[in-house]
């Protein structure tokens, strides 16, 4: 019978003790008790009835007010303070800016607060520059029975970034259900391999991820070192930057918003009692793929939600509260 030297036995024991400490610390990290903070504020916008003859002009939307109303209710029931809800005629460019300015005043210097801006309405993109836009109520003019666009009232990613930049907290969420909304997503040091138009697969397909990544390592590394954008803003969008977004008559919501709302009760994939931005995105994306895209991709109406890069994640919903 051969025994280890005493020093070796002690060393081996120390290794196992260290293992136990590491694993217990790790397990404890995931189960800490947390209560919902009260400093979470939201601005909710739904533009459905644009200027025109009535509520059913051809360019009016059908369910964006439902989206905004249901989002506001859901946020309120999850501990958020809905500071402002703007519907249709109330949702002009000035009013949206003013609501975000008021949010900045409300939050003040509370850097630990969380701000959320939700928008459901029309969006567009400049085909040449690729710049995306949100189209508020006054972004469409109507006179002499003719509709026209007033692009000076459209909201660009740069404008939204400027407005949100004045909100003094470091936790900000921008949730957009509009056409071409993917252009509001910052790369945040990542490369998004999800196509910007899932109907034509511009960009890349979502497979062979790591093989593709290793093959493009230099580009990836450069992207990682050039984080860009405002890391405090996490944008979640219904569609890519080259993709349309849709109202869904069967759910009476935006196709994306319906599943995004549903994620509050069904999207807690790790069962920790919280639905994070990433979990909500993953849930909505999976459901859109399985339900909406399966039925509509043959019409060229598939869409895939996108989310900003960056290391951070924020809780949106707490089903247990």
């Amino acid at each position: 019978m051969r025994r280890l030297p005493r020093n070796a036995s002690r060393l081996a024991g120390a290794f196992l003790t260290l293992a136990a400490v590491l694993l217990l610390a790790s397990a404890n990290a995931c189960t800490a008790n947390i209560t919902m903070p009260s400093n979470r504020y939201a601005v909710v916008i739904g533009v459905q009835d644009y200027p025109g003859i009535d509520t059913k002009d051809w360019y009016d939307l059908s369910y964006t007010e439902n989206d905004a109303n249901e989002m506001a209710s859901l946020l309120a029931s999850n501990g958020w303070t809905v500071a402002k809800k703007l519907l249709s005629a109330a949702a002009t460019q000035d009013a949206i800016k003013s609501a975000i300015d008021d949010l900045a005043v409300l939050i003040g210097t509370d850097s630990e607060a969380t701000a959320l801006v939700y928008y459901s309405g029309h969006g567009d993109v400049d085909a040449v520059s690729g710049t995306g836009y949100l189209i508020p109520y006054d972004g469409i003019s109507f006179s002499d029975n003719t509709m026209s666009f007033d692009k000076t009232k459209w909201v660009t990613p740069a404008a939204m970034s400027l407005w949100l930049g004045q909100v003094g907290c470091k936790n900000k969420l921008l949730v957009l259900d509009s056409c071409y909304s993917g252009s509001f997503v910052e790369a945040g040091g990542s490369i998004d391999i999800s196509p910007q138009d899932s109907n034509t697969y511009t960009g890349t397909k979502e497979k062979d991820v790591l093989a593709t990544a290793f093959a493009n390592f230099a580009g990836l590394l450069a992207a990682s070192l050039d984080a860009g954008g405002d890391p405090s803003v996490t944008a979640i969008t219904a569609s890519g930057s080259e993709e349309l977004s849709y109202d869904d008559s069967s759910t009476q919501n935006g196709a994306f918003t319906y599943y995004f709302l549903e994620s509050a009760t069904k999207g807690d994939s790790d069962g920790d009692g919280f639905v994070t931005a990433t979990e909500a995105l993953a849930y909505a994306k999976a459901k859109l793929k399985a339900n909406w895209n399966m039925k509509n991709s043959y019409l060229g109406q598939a869409l895939l939600p996108h989310i900003s890069g960056g290391a951070g994640n924020l809780v949106l919903f707490a089903p247990g509260t």
């Binding site: 280890l4 919902m36 951070g312």
Partner: protein, 205 residues
């Protein structure tokens, strides 16, 4: 679930090893030649605290497995090249419900180091660099990042034969890594269990 699996796997491996510390039948002491090429596999579990400017340091669970090839000349480990697959879970939340996203991916590493006698055991100290590609869990976002890596390995004093290769050995290790990610940094620290066999060995007379 993955955390439980990691913990379970680790303790199962540890439990399998612990009886050996007592008195198993006639273990053979591992012998090393002057120069040696070894191939090894290992698995590790541990914690991965992440932090970024103006954000708190938050812990996450992590595990990985790796295969490596090393060339040793006497006590100098000239090079150890590794290829591994890792998983780092979502971090804990801070009190304002911020957390760091989980990420998973693959790593290529190169290390060099030295082997020291320690009691009846041998201790290998290695340091080097690694390049990783990863995907944020549940997203389509991929990133790449460099890391500084270090490894403290305890070579256990028994040998086994595998696939005709004698002088196979078991290793307990403390792998460490500092990852410079896009906006955050992550430290990986854990405990590993591995096994290696020599591919070629040559001793001077």
């Amino acid at each position: 679930m993955r955390l439980k699996l990691t913990i379970g796997l680790f303790f199962a491996l540890s439990a399998a090893l612990v009886p050996s510390f007592g008195a198993q039948a006639a273990p053979r002491l591992a012998q090393g030649g002057d120069r040696e090429i070894r191939v090894s596999v290992s698995a590790s579990g541990g914690i991965a605290p992440s932090f970024e400017s103006d954000r708190p340091l938050l812990l996450a669970p992590s595990w990985d497995w790796a295969a490596s090839l090393s060339f040793r000349s006497r006590d100098w480990i000239v090079v150890r090249a590794g290829l591994g697959n890792f998983w780092t879970g979502d971090s804990a939340y801070d009190s304002y419900l911020f957390s760091y996203r989980g990420f998973q991916g693959a790593t290529l590493s190169l290390e060099t180091g030295y082997r020291l006698p320690l009691g009846g055991l041998k201790l290998e100290l290695l340091a080097g660099a690694a390049l990783s590609v990863s995907k944020y869990t549940a997203t389509s976002l991929v990133t790449a990042f460099p890391s500084a890596v270090a490894d403290i390995r305890l070579i256990l004093p028994w040998a086994f034969t595998l696939f005709g290769a004698e002088d196979g050995r078991l290793e307990l290790g403390v792998p460490l890594a500092f990852e410079w990610r896009a906006s955050a940094a992550t430290i990986e620290a854990g405990l590993s269990l591995g096994a290696s066999i020599p591919l070629g060995k040559r001793s001077s007379k």
